[in-house]
Symmetry: C2
Subunit: 119 residues, 2 copies
């Protein structure tokens, strides 16, 4: 049986940036936390939407036609197929929800591609 | 195209208890916020897990074999088919994620059954 999960405690278990860690599962979706800092890469997920919820800090999600600014307590769903590039000016903590098996860099090959990991 | 969603702003739009409001969609899942206060009813969702994330306050999720206490920044996934009964001693604000069409009272008929609503 599942246990209660504390987001801050899970975030304290790692320090890597841009490397989402799975903390729970909801049917065929994974709930992940991540620490973001600096620039990610442009990519899209052709088969799925992607949910970002900002837990701490300020996140910019660059889209091709505009930039979105998310603060703590704000969320955005990147629609499937939409190119996006996260950026931050400092450390940002986020909650992500997406189907099992989604790769962080989507359709882009990159040294930032992270392996699945559960904490 | 979607917009940035502020959880506190969405929660300010209604005052009903035990009546989750949809604020965004992630593929075939709905992201909802709700205000909880007092006692809900025992129920289960036979076809799906259900994610609770506490945004403010303290939530007790009673299971048949134990009580779980969730504070702000904590989450719990109620596995499909598991009977549960939320309870609070004051107002609690939560984020819920579950497939489109899930009814708040699951398999139980009740005056607390809420109609789907988007805010």
């Amino acid at each position: 049986m599942n246990d209660v999960i504390n987001l801050a405690q899970k975030l304290s278990l790692f320090d890597e940036r841009w490397s989402p860690k799975t903390i729970a599962r909801l049917n065929d979706y994974e709930i992940k936390v991540a620490k973001l800092e600096g620039d990610f890469i442009w990519h899209a997920h052709d088969d799925t939407d992607e949910l970002f919820i900002v837990l701490q800090g300020q996140l910019t999600i660059q889209l091709r036609d505009r930039d979105l600014m998310l603060s703590e307590g704000e969320l955005f769903v990147v629609p499937r197929g939409v190119e996006h590039c996260p950026h931050t000016d400092g450390e940002v903590k986020v909650l992500l929800i997406e189907p099992v098996g989604v790769v962080n860099t989507g359709d882009a090959e990159s040294s930032l591609t992270a392996s699945p990991e559960t904490v």
